[in-house]
Subunit: 199 residues, 2 copies
């Protein structure tokens, strides 16, 4: 069973991590419907055990501390205003770097790419981020290229996605790569993900 760790921190953007959380957990439900064992264990990870206060005020309880986690198959780093503070947090950047070194996949949503650039895993790679942050990330000069106008970018085992809702598409893509398109289609059906934005 693979381990998926979703990092959370104060002022993390809510949908950045709950979108992928829903996709990956729904994949386990689909496995159940297929008579298979769960594909993975999905955990919220934070530096402390205390409630995390997200960007819009949602308070969530992490399940695991970074200190108690030294290996993950898949790391997901969401974005949000809190990334501007965490990019100056050497302990968290060191943890991201260490986990990423042995992870099968390293992923981000939105401005989570900032942390993957600062921590190292995205340096010299092609990445994307929230549209409003493309120029700022280019100005940092860490990524080889910051790609605009796409939902997600893969470079080797690094997958970065665009803003907020793009994490859902990226997670569906990764589900398809990991477990096959039938599973990913089952997840899409389970989430009734046939989006029809009315404006």
């Amino acid at each position: 069973m693979k381990s998926i760790g979703i990092l959370v921190f104060d002022d993390v953007e809510e949908l950045d991590f709950v979108g992928p959380w829903e996709v990956f957990n729904m994949a386990n439900e689909v496995a159940g419907h297929m008579g298979r064992d769960p594909f993975h264990d999905v955990k919220l990870i934070a530096e402390r055990e205390t409630p995390v206060r997200c960007a819009h005020g949602l308070r969530v309880l992490p399940e695991l501390t970074t200190a108690a986690c030294d290996k993950l198959d898949i790391l997901l780093v969401p974005g949000g205003q809190g990334t501007r503070r965490e990019v100056l947090n050497p302990a968290l950047l060191a943890w991201i770097a260490a986990i990423s070194a042995s992870a099968e996949w390293v992923t981000s949503v939105c401005t989570g790419a900032l942390l993957l650039c600062a921590a190292g895993p995205a340096r010299g790679k092609r990445v994307t981020t929230h549209w409003a942050f493309i120029e700022s990330l280019r100005a940092r000069g860490e990524a080889a290229e910051v790609v605009a106008d796409c939902r997600y970018v893969r470079d080797g085992n690094l997958v970065t996605s665009a803003g907020i809702s793009a994490g859902i598409d990226m997670s569906l893509w990764l589900t398809s790569v990991l477990y096959g398109p039938d599973v990913a289609r089952g997840v899409r059906r389970g989430m009734e993900y046939d989006p029809a934005p009315p404006v």
Copy 2:
């Protein structure tokens, strides 16, 4: 400033409520960019103050108890496995009925429609729900019609949406009705909601 209350309970489906939460909170951000005051206050409401354990294990802290809330402009009832237990909870159904009686809008996502049918606000109305629950909801005979294959259905001040991710589209629609399409488009842009399901 309008009050939006999002009901949560054990085994509520995570994206059912975090999707709308993101949309409504992003609308306040858009208001700020326009130099306007926040449109509304968005609160998670539960029967108890203790952490709510969602369907896939996410633990969230509510901000307000049902006992402390006797009026809302907009009520949103999400779905999830927990609705099968809460449909037998007379205290919660009575609260939903009382709040709905004076609310400007009464809304649901996914199987939240079950609670709106059982509590009364959706009786004799046209509704929708998660595709896998359409027949069960029809069999209960409370709604006048359970509509399949649409993202959301409006009947008067009642708006019910289809499964899980459909709550995002419904909330964007309601944002457009309440504050105008420019605000809703700003929310869509802020969330980078240009979905592109890869499977």
